[in-house]
C-alpha cells in the first residue's frame, strides 16, 4: 500500500486503528519527498530528523491513549514558510530571512502539535507571499505537478503542489489576496481561506495585516474541514481574532444543498474568463442546481474596483510590515557597508527580490504625504463599498459561486514580466479578502491542456459551514483526480 495516496483523514484513521504507525507514515512521506521533490521543489526545508523524532513521540502519546479525540494525530503536515516554527528556519522564501530561526511557535503550530501533528517541513512560496506563481522565491521556483512546465500558482504554491504531488497529506497556507485558493485551483486540490479573525495570525509573518488569513490545503473538503476544526479559535495574542461559539466545521460535511440559494456574480463570468474555465464553472453550478440548490446570476456592486483597492492597501501595509527587515536584529546583513545608512540600504536592496521591492515602493508612495487621501484613504472607502456589495448579496444568497482564477495555470516564466497583468489574475479572489469573507476553492474539471480548473464558493462572514456543505455536496458528484504523474 502506498501510504502517501491516502487522504489525511484516512491516514489518521489507520494510525488510530494501529494499522499504520506514525513513523511508517512519516518515513513513507519522507521517501516520497526524496523521490519527487527534485522535480517539483515544493519544500524549502525538509525536517527529516525532527519529524522522525516527533513521530515516535506522537506514537507514544497515541499508545498511551492520549490524542484519541484528534482525528489527525500522527498525520504529517507541511507548513508554508511564512508561519513561524520554533527553532526551525522560517524564511518567507526571501534572502533577507534566509537564516531566521523563530524563537517561538505560531499559534496554529501550537494547536496542530497539541492535536498530534508531525511537521514534515516548510514549503515554498512567493517571496513574502507576494505573487501568484511561486516563481519569486529566493530558493527557486516550484513546478506544477500536473505539468512541470507550468506554475503551481501562488503564493502558497509549495503548499498546494506538495498536496497534489502527494508529498504532503495536507498543508497550511496563507491567503492575503487569493494565495490559498489560486494555487489550490492550479494544482487541483482544495483550499479554504477562512473568515478574517477565525484563525490566529500570531506567528504568521505579516504581508498585509488586515487581509492575511491562514488556512488549510488538502486533497478534499473533508480534510480541509477537519484541519480548520483544529487551527481555528479565538487567540488572545491576536487582537483581530474574533471569538465565536462554534468552531466545529466538520458538522457541515453533509451531502445536501436542497433549498440553498446560490448567486453567481455576473462580473465573474465576463470578459477575461477563459472559455473552458467558464463552461466548467457553469457545469458545476448545474450540478448543485440538480442537487436542489437555487442558482441565479446577479450584479455584485463595486467589485470591479477590488484589484486597485487591494493592491493599494496590501502594498501600503506591506511597506510598513517589511520595514523591520533591516539587517540589525535577524536575517541577512550586507557583507560590505560603510555606516548605518549603508546597512539599511544594502541589506534591503540585496535581501529583497523585485516584486517585494516594487510593492514596498508602491506602498511608500500611496502613504506618502500628498497622496494618502487619493490612494490609501480612497481604497479604504472602496473597501467599504465592496463589503457593502457583499452584504447586500448575502441578504439574498447563502453562498456565491464563481471561478477561482480566470485561467488554468500559466507556463513558467510567462507572468513576471508584466506585473500589472499578473495582478489582474487576482480578479476573483481579492474582493473576498477586502471584505473579510470565507471562501473555498475546489477542483471542478480539467481543461484541454490537462490542467485542473478551480471552483470558488464564497460565504458570508463566518459562513464557513455553508461553503463547506456546498463544496462537500459538489465533491460527491466526482472522484478526486491527482496529477497524471502520480497515477
Amino acid at each position: 500500500m502506498d501510504l502517501t495516496k491516502l487522504t489525511a483523514l484516512e491516514l489518521g484513521k489507520k494510525i488510530k486503528d494501529k494499522e499504520v504507525s506514525v513513523i511508517e507514515a512519516t518515513q513513507a512521506l519522507l521517501e516520497k519527498i526524496k523521490q519527487t521533490d527534485e522535480d517539483y521543489h515544493c519544500y524549502i526545508t525538509v525536517m527529516e530528523q525532527e519529524a522522525l523524532a516527533r513521530a515516535s513521540e506522537v506514537q507514544k502519546q497515541i499508545d498511551a491513549g492520549e490524542l484519541s479525540d484528534s482525528p489527525l494525530a500522527g498525520v504529517p503536515v507541511a507548513i508554508k514558510d511564512n508561519i513561524c516554527t520554533k527553532g526551525v528556519k522560517t524564511t518567507c522564501a526571501s534572502k533577507i530571512l534566509y537564516n531566521f530561526n523563530p524563537p517561538y511557535n505560531a499559534t496554529v503550530i501550537e494547536k496542530l502539535e497539541k492535536a498530534g501533528a508531525v511537521i514534515i517541513g516548510k514549503v515554498n512560496m512567493d517571496e513574502f507571499a507576494m505573487g501568484s506563481t511561486t516563481e519569486t522565491s529566493y530558493f527557486g521556483v516550484t513546478k506544477n505537478p500536473w505539468n512541470t512546465a507550468h506554475v503551481p500558482g501562488g503564493s502558497s504554491g509549495g503548499a498546494a503542489a506538495a498536496v497534489a504531488a502527494e508529498e504532503a497529506f495536507y498543508s497550511l497556507g496563507s491567503d492575503t489576496g487569493g494565495s490559498i485558493r489560486q494555487p489550490s485551483s492550479f494544482c487541483g486540490v482544495t483550499g479554504i481561506k477562512p473568515t478574517y479573525g477565525t484563525v490566529s495570525r500570531y506567528g504568521l509573518v505579516a504581508y498585509a495585516s488586515s487581509l492575511d488569513q491562514i488556512g488549510p490545503i488538502a486533497r478534499n473538503v473533508s480534510d480541509c474541514a477537519v484541519v480548520l476544526d483544529l487551527i481555528s479559535g479565538h487567540d488572545t495574542k491576536d487582537s483581530t481574532s474574533v471569538p465565536r461559539d462554534n468552531y466545529q466545521y466538520t458538522e457541515a460535511l453533509i451531502d445536501d444543498v436542497r433549498g440553498m440559494k446560490i448567486g453567481i456574480p455576473k462580473g465573474y463570468l465576463g470578459a477575461g474568463l477563459d472559455k473552458e474555465v467558464k463552461s466548467s464553472i457553469l457545469a458545476a453550478a448545474k450540478v448543485l442546481e440538480e442537487k436542489g440548490a437555487v442558482v441565479e446570476e446577479f450584479d455584485l456592486d463595486a467589485v470591479d474596483y477590488a484589484i486597485p483597492a487591494y493592491y493599494v492597501i496590501a502594498s501600503a501595509e506591506a511597506s510598513s510590515n517589511l520595514s523591520r527587515y533591516d539587517g540589525i536584529k535577524y536575517g541577512y546583513r550586507t557583507e560590505d557597508f560603510d555606516g548605518l545608512a549603508d546597512v539599511y540600504k544594502k541589506s534591503r536592496s540585496e535581501g529583497f527580490g523585485n516584486e517585494v521591492k516594487r510593492r514596498m515602493m508602491i506602498g511608500a508612495f500611496v502613504l506618502s504625504s500628498g497622496y494618502y487621501d487619493a490612494y490609501y484613504n480612497k481604497s479604504l472607502k472602496v473597501k467599504a463599498l465592496i463589503k457593502e456589495g457583499f452584504d447586500k448579496a448575502f441578504e439574498k444568497y447563502d453562498i456565491l459561486l464563481g471561478p477561482t482564477a480566470p485561467s488554468t495555470a500559466p507556463k513558467l516564466g510567462e507572468s513576471l514580466s508584466d506585473p500589472l497583468k499578473m495582478y489582474l489574475g487576482d480578479i476573483y479572489t481579492v474582493s473576498v479578502n477586502l471584505a473579510g469573507l470565507p471562501a473555498i476553492s475546489l477542483p471542478c474539471g480539467i481543461d484541454s491542456k490537462g490542467l485542473p480548473i478551480g471552483l470558488q464558493l464564497i460565504g458570508k462572514h463566518f459562513g464557513e459551514k455553508d461553503i463547506i456543505r456546498a463544496a462537500f455536496s459538489f465533491e460527491q458528484s466526482r472522484d478526486y483526480k491527482g496529477p497524471v504523474n502520480n497515477a
Partner: protein
C-alpha cells in the same frame, strides 16, 4: 534692535507607571541588564502581534481629565513609519488621527501672574529602545529594554513665552501626573522628557516665526539654558537677515549651544496609517465616569484640606504638597502619630535643609513614614531630647534607619534619673564658682553656661528642662 517675543510649545513624553509594556507582558522596570526585559513582541520579531495594556488607556484618560481635556471616546492607533535602530519594527505605534485626549489646558503662575497653557492633545504611544555608544569599537549597541514602555505624549499649544513659563508648566504637569500616580516623572531616568518647539517673532506680530525643535531635554536647568540659547541664536539669525530653518536640533548643555540633528536629505515623511493589528478603542460613558470617580485628590484640593483639617499654615501646606512624595510621607506619618504640626515641622525644617544640602529631589526621599513617626514618638515620650533627635534624623534621612534601634544601640536615651543628674549638677556648681556668683548677681546668661556644661558632662542625653529646674533650685 527690535523687540522680540519667544513663542514656545512643548511636547512632553511621559513614561507611564504600568507594570508591563504597552503591547506585551514584559516588565517596565527601569534598568536591568540590556535586552533582558524583552520578548519577541517588543523586539519586532516577524509574525508577532500587539495586544493593548488596558491600564495604559486608563492612565491616559486620567491624565486627560486632570488637565481639563476632552476625551475622544472613539480613538485608535496609527503607525508612524521611520527607520532607526532603536525602533525594531521600523514603525512606532502611536495616535495621529484620533488621539485619546484633546483641547485641555492647565493654569500656571509666574511672578504672581496667572495664565492658562493650552493642551492640544494627549496621545498614547510606545517608547523606543536605547542606543549606547561603544567607545572601544566606535559602534553603537542597541538595548530594547525600554522599547514598548508605554508613553503618553502631551502636546501643548504654543502658549508659553519664557523659560520661566515653561518650567512652571512642566512643574505643574509633573505634579499632576505624580499625584495621579500615572508616572513617577523621574527626569534623570527619562520618564519625563520634553521636546521644545521654539520660534521668534517681533512683538505685536500675528504670524508665528519658523520654529525649531529641540529634543529630549531631561533637566529643568538644561531646558532653561536651551531656551535662552536657542532664543539668542534665532534672534541673531533674524537680525543678520538670515532665515531660521525648520529642523530638529540637539541641545548640548556642556557646549551651551544647539546643533542640527538630522541631515536634510533624510525625508521626514512618516506615512501614518491606521494600525491594522489593533482594534479601535471605544470608551463608554460608564468607563469614563468610573475613571473620573477614581481620580485621586490633586494638589490644590490637598493644600486646602491640610489648612483646614490639620491647621497647617498655607505656606507650609504649599511646600509639603509641592511633591507627591512629601505629601504622601506627611499623610502617612500623621496617620501613625497624629501630630500634624510636629510632622510638618520635621518636613519643613530638617528635611528641607538636608534635601538642599544633598541636592536631592523630594521624590527620591528614602525614609519611611514609620521611621519618622518613631522618631517623633521618642521625643514625645521623653526618650530623647531635640538635639539628639536632630542627629538621629540625619541618619533616618540618609539611611532610613529605625530610630528606636539606633537610640538603644548607641545609648542615646535620655537620663531621667533625677538623683544622678543632681549629683552631676552639684559637681558643676562646685567647680564653677565664678559663673555661680555671676548668676546670683543677676547675669542670666551664666545659667546657660552651666546648663551647657551639664549637658556636655551628660553627653547630651539629659532633659534640658530638668537640668534648668535642678540648677535653679541649687542656685536660689
Amino acid at each position: 534692535m527690535k523687540s522680540y517675543e519667544t513663542v514656545i510649545g512643548l511636547e512632553v513624553h511621559v513614561e507611564l507607571a504600568t507594570q508591563t509594556k504597552i503591547f506585551c507582558g514584559c516588565t517596565t522596570q527601569f534598568g536591568g541588564e540590556p535586552n533582558t526585559h524583552c520578548c519577541p513582541v517588543c523586539t519586532g520579531m516577524p509574525g508577532t502581534l500587539p495586544v493593548l495594556n488596558k491600564r495604559v488607556v486608563e492612565f491616559a484618560m486620567a491624565a486627560g481629565l486632570a488637565t481639563n481635556c476632552k476625551i475622544n471616546q472613539k480613538c485608535k492607533f496609527d503607525r508612524k513609519n521611520y527607520f532607526y535602530p532603536d525602533l525594531p519594527k521600523a514603525y512606532q505605534v502611536s495616535q495621529l488621527y484620533l488621539p485619546i485626549c484633546h483641547d485641555g489646558g492647565i493654569e500656571i503662575e509666574v511672578n504672581g501672574v496667572k495664565k492658562v497653557v493650552g493642551i492640544h492633545e494627549i496621545h498614547m504611544e510606545e517608547d523606543a529602545g536605547k542606543l549606547i555608544h561603544d567607545p572601544w569599537e566606535d559602534c553603537t549597541l542597541v538595548d530594547y529594554n525600554r522599547c514598548g514602555v508605554p508613553l503618553i505624549e502631551i502636546v501643548s499649544e504654543p502658549d508659553m513665552r519664557s523659560a520661566e513659563e515653561v518650567i512652571s508648566y512642566l512643574e505643574k504637569l509633573k505634579l499632576i501626573l505624580q499625584y495621579l500616580g500615572v508616572s513617577d516623572c523621574k527626569m534623570q531616568e527619562g520618564s519625563l522628557r520634553a521636546d521644545i518647539n521654539l520660534s521668534i517673532r517681533e512683538v505685536g506680530a500675528e504670524k508665528f516665526g519658523t520654529r525649531t525643535e529641540m529634543k529630549n531635554m531631561n533637566s529643568f536647568k538644561a531646558i532653561a539654558r536651551a531656551i535662552e540659547g536657542e532664543r539668542k541664536r534665532q534672534i541673531e539669525l533674524i537680525e543678520d537677515g538670515k532665515q531660521v530653518v525648520q529642523e530638529t536640533r540637539r541641545w548640548d548643555d556642556n557646549k551651551d549651544t544647539s546643533f542640527a540633528m538630522r541631515s536634510k536629505e533624510d525625508a521626514q515623511d512618516y506615512r501614518y496609517f491606521p494600525e491594522p493589528d489593533l482594534v479601535p478603542i471605544e470608551i463608554s460613558d460608564e468607563w469614563l465616569h468610573d475613571i473620573r470617580s477614581r481620580q485621586p485628590e490633586l494638589r490644590d484640593e490637598k493644600m486646602l484640606r491640610y489648612e483646614t483639617e490639620y491647621d497647617i499654615p498655607e505656606y507650609d501646606a504649599s511646600i509639603i504638597t509641592s511633591s507627591k512624595r512629601l505629601a504622601d510621607i506627611f499623610e502617612e506619618t500623621v496617620a501613625i502619630c497624629e501630630k500634624p504640626k510636629e510632622v510638618s515641622n520635621w518636613l519643613m525644617v530638617e528635611t528641607m535643609r538636608l534635601l538642599k544640602e544633598t541636592e536631592m529631589e523630594p521624590e527620591n526621599i528614602l525614609f519611611s513614614a514609620q521611621n519618622l513617626a518613631r522618631l517623633i514618638g521618642l521625643i514625645s515620650d521623653g526618650k530623647i531630647n531635640r538635639t539628639v533627635a536632630k542627629e538621629v534624623f540625619e541618619r533616618v534621612f540618609k539611611e532610613n534607619i529605625d530610630p528606636e534601634d539606633y537610640v538603644k544601640v548607641n545609648g542615646l536615651t535620655m537620663v531621667n534619673d533625677e538623683g544622678a543628674l543632681r549629683t552631676v549638677i552639684e559637681n558643676i556648681v562646685a567647680g564653677n564658682p565664678a559663673s555661680v556668683s555671676d548668676y546670683r548677681s543677676g547675669k542670666e546668661k551664666a545659667l546657660g553656661f552651666l546648663v551647657g556644661q551639664t549637658m556636655k558632662e551628660m553627653k547630651g542625653k539629659a532633659d534640658p528642662g530638668l537640668i534648668n529646674k535642678i540648677l535653679k533650685e541649687l542656685l536660689s
